[in-house]
C-alpha cells in the first residue's frame, strides 16, 4: 500500500512539467469556483439585508384597548412567514416622523393633538421575503383582522427591486453552474491529456502482464494528490487575497438606521464581508479531489478500451 504511494509520488516528480500543469489547472479552477462563490455569497448577504429592511405597517383604528392589541400581535405572529411583530404606539410614531422630516419640521412644531394612529410593524422571515407576492398575501391576511384600519407595505418599487435581485440571484446560480461544469471539464480534460502522453506506458505495462490495479492505482492516487494540492493552493490563494483586500478596504460602518422610507430600513451596518464557511471550503476541497479522480477514471477507461 505504502509502496503504491511511493510509486505515485515518484511518478509525479518524474513528470513534473505535466503534473505542474495539472495542479495549476486544478488550483485555478478551484480559485474560479470559490472566488465566485465568495462574491455571490456576499452579494447575496447584501441583498438579504436589503429585503430584511422591508416592513409591513398595519395601522389600527383609534382606541383599540391594550388587551386586544396583544391578541392581535399573537394572531399576526402565527401567520405564515412572519418573523417579528412590533407594536408602535402613536406617540412613538410621531417622534419618528419628526426625526424623518428634519428639514421641514416647522410644519408640525405646533400641533396640539397627535393625528397619527397606533400601528404594528411586521417583518417577514427569510425565505418568504424573497418573493413579493408573499408580502401581498400577508398584507391581505392582516387587513382582514378587525380593528386593522389600513395596511401599508412599501411601494410597488420594492417588489420590482426584489424581482431584479431575484433575477441576479438566478443569473448567479446559473453562472455558478456554468463555472462548475466548465472547470470540471477543464480539470478532467487536463488530466486526460496528461495521461494521454502516458498511454504508451500503460499499454506496455499491460502487455508485459502487470495487473490492472498495479497499473491504475498510482494514477488514481496521483490524481487525488493533484486534486487535493490544487484545491489547497486555490483556496489558500483566495483566502490570502480576500484578507488582503478586506483588510485594505476596511468598511467603517457604524450602526445607523434609515427611517425615511416608510416601511423600509436598510440595516447595512449588520453587513460584514465573510469568507467561505469551513464546510463549503471542505466541500470544495473534496470536490477538487473528486474531479481529479474523475478525470483519471475517464481517461483510464478510454485507454483501456483500446
Amino acid at each position: 500500500m505504502l509502496h503504491i504511494f511511493i510509486r505515485a509520488i515518484r511518478d509525479i516528480l518524474s513528470n513534473s512539467f505535466l503534473n505542474a500543469v495539472a495542479v495549476i489547472t486544478i488550483a485555478l479552477s478551484v480559485l474560479i469556483i470559490s472566488a465566485f462563490a465568495l462574491f455571490f455569497i456576499n452579494a447575496d448577504a447584501v441583498m438579504n439585508i436589503w429585503t430584511e429592511g422591508i416592513r409591513i405597517m398595519a395601522y389600527l383604528e383609534p382606541g383599540v384597548p391594550e388587551k386586544k392589541i396583544s391578541k392581535i400581535t399573537q394572531e399576526i405572529q402565527r401567520m405564515d412567514g412572519v418573523q417579528e411583530t412590533r407594536f408602535i404606539a402613536k406617540e412613538e410614531a410621531l417622534e419618528q416622523f419628526k426625526a424623518q422630516i428634519r428639514g421641514q419640521s416647522s410644519l408640525i412644531d405646533n400641533l396640539k393633538e397627535n393625528p397619527l394612529p397606533d400601528a404594528f410593524e411586521i417583518r417577514m422571515a427569510e425565505p418568504f421575503r424573497n418573493n413579493w407576492e408573499n408580502f401581498e398575501t400577508l398584507a391581505m391576511q392582516i387587513r382582514a383582522i378587525p380593528s386593522v384600519e389600513e395596511v401599508e407595505y412599501g411601494q410597488k418599487w420594492l417588489g420590482r427591486v426584489i424581482h431584479i435581485l431575484n433575477l441576479f440571484r438566478l443569473a448567479g446560480y446559473a453562472l455558478g453552474c456554468l463555472f462548475f461544469m466548465a472547470t470540471v471539464f477543464f480539470v478532467a480534460n487536463t488530466i486526460r491529456l496528461v495521461l494521454y502522453s502516458r498511454q504508451e506506458e500503460i499499454e506496455i505495462m499491460r502487455l508485459v502482464g502487470a495487473s490492472e490495479g498495479f497499473i491504475k492505482d498510482p494514477f488514481y492516487i496521483q490524481s487525488l494528490i493533484q486534486g487535493g494540492l490544487g484545491g489547497i493552493i486555490g483556496l489558500g490563494t483566495l483566502f490570502v487575497t480576500f484578507n488582503f483586500i478586506v483588510g485594505n478596504w476596511k468598511l467603517e460602518i457604524g450602526t445607523w438606521k434609515l427611517g425615511s422610507v416608510p416601511n423600509f430600513e436598510f440595516p447595512i451596518s449588520n453587513f460584514e464581508f465573510g469568507f467561505l464557511s469551513p464546510e463549503i471550503s471542505a466541500g470544495i476541497l473534496l470536490g477538487s479531489m473528486f474531479v481529479g479522480w474523475l478525470g483519471c477514471y475517464l481517461s483510464l477507461r478510454q485507454f483501456l478500451k483500446v
Partner: protein
C-alpha cells in the same frame, strides 16, 4: 502431426484466422507447440509472424478459431485473468516496446515486480539480467538515449526477467552485430535447456541452420511448411 492428447502441448492453435479489416493477416493456421520446444517461425516481410506472436500474448484478438495455452482457451478467458496469463510469457517485441520515460532499471523492475518477487530481491534480479545481456552499465539510462542494439538487449532482458515458461522472441537480433546476436541466442538456448518453451520469429537463416529444430514457414498469412531441420555441427 497432431495428436489430441493435451498433456505435452503447451500451446495449441486450431484453425486460426486473423483479419485486419479486409486484410487477411493469417489464414487457417494450425499447429501445436510442445512443452520445452524450440520453435522457429520464419517467412518474408509481412507474412504474419508478428501477428501470430501477438495473438499468443493476447495483444491482438483472434478473429476466428481457437488458441489454447496451458489448457486455457484465449477466446474464453475473463478479463481479470489476462495479466496472470501474460506473465507466463516473456516477450521480446520487434519494436522493443520499452517505456521511454522510465529508466532501463525501472523498465525491467516493472516485470520483476509484477510477477510478485519480494521487494528486496527485485534490485538483485534486475541487476543480474542486465549483466547477462551486457547492459549493466546503462541501468540508469532512458531507452531513447540507447543505441538500437542496446534497446534490443534491454528488451531481451525484460523478457527473461520474470523467468517465464514461454519466451516469444520477435526478431530479437535484427539490430545486433554477429557477436552480440550470438550472446542473446545462447541466452535463449540456455533458457530452453532449463525447461522454457521458446518461439522465435526471425529472418536470420544462419541462426536457424546453426541450431536446428522445427521451423514453421509462413507466407502471406498461410502456414506453408513445417520442417525439422537437423542441427548443424
Amino acid at each position: 502431426m497432431q495428436t489430441f492428447s493435451n498433456d505435452n502441448f503447451i500451446i495449441r492453435i486450431f484453425h486460426v484466422h486473423k483479419r485486419y479489416g479486409p486484410k487477411n493477416a493469417l489464414i487457417d493456421i494450425r499447429f501445436d507447440v510442445s512443452e520445452n520446444e524450440f520453435l522457429f517461425i520464419t517467412g518474408p516481410s509481412g507474412a504474419g509472424k508478428t501477428t501470430l506472436l501477438k495473438m499468443l500474448n493476447l495483444g491482438e484478438p483472434v478473429t476466428e478459431g481457437q488458441i489454447i495455452i496451458d489448457g486455457v482457451n484465449l477466446s474464453r478467458i475473463s478479463r481479470s485473468r489476462i495479466p496472470s496469463l501474460r506473465r507466463k510469457f516473456g516477450i521480446i517485441f520487434q519494436d522493443y516496446k520499452l517505456i521511454p520515460t522510465k529508466t532501463v532499471f525501472e523498465n525491467i523492475a516493472l516485470v520483476v515486480e509484477a510477477v510478485g518477487t519480494k521487494r528486496r530481491l527485485i534490485r538483485k534480479k534486475v541487476r543480474s539480467v542486465l549483466r547477462t545481456v551486457g547492459m549493466e552499465g546503462k541501468s540508469k539510462s532512458l531507452p531513447p538515449t540507447l543505441s538500437g542494439g542496446e534497446q534490443q538487449r534491454v528488451a531481451v532482458a525484460r523478457a527473461i526477467a520474470g523467468n517465464p515458461r514461454i519466451i516469444l522472441a520477435d526478431e530479437p537480433t535484427g539490430n545486433l552485430d554477429a557477436e552480440s546476436a550470438g550472446i542473446i541466442f545462447e541466452l535463449l538456448r540456455e533458457f530452453h535447456t532449463r525447461g522454457a518453451t521458446v518461439i522465435l520469429a526471425t529472418h536470420n537463416t544462419e541462426l536457424i541452420r546453426r541450431t536446428g529444430g522445427r521451423v514453421i514457414l509462413l507466407e502471406q498469412g498461410r502456414l506453408k511448411t513445417s520442417t525439422i531441420i537437423p542441427k548443424l555441427t
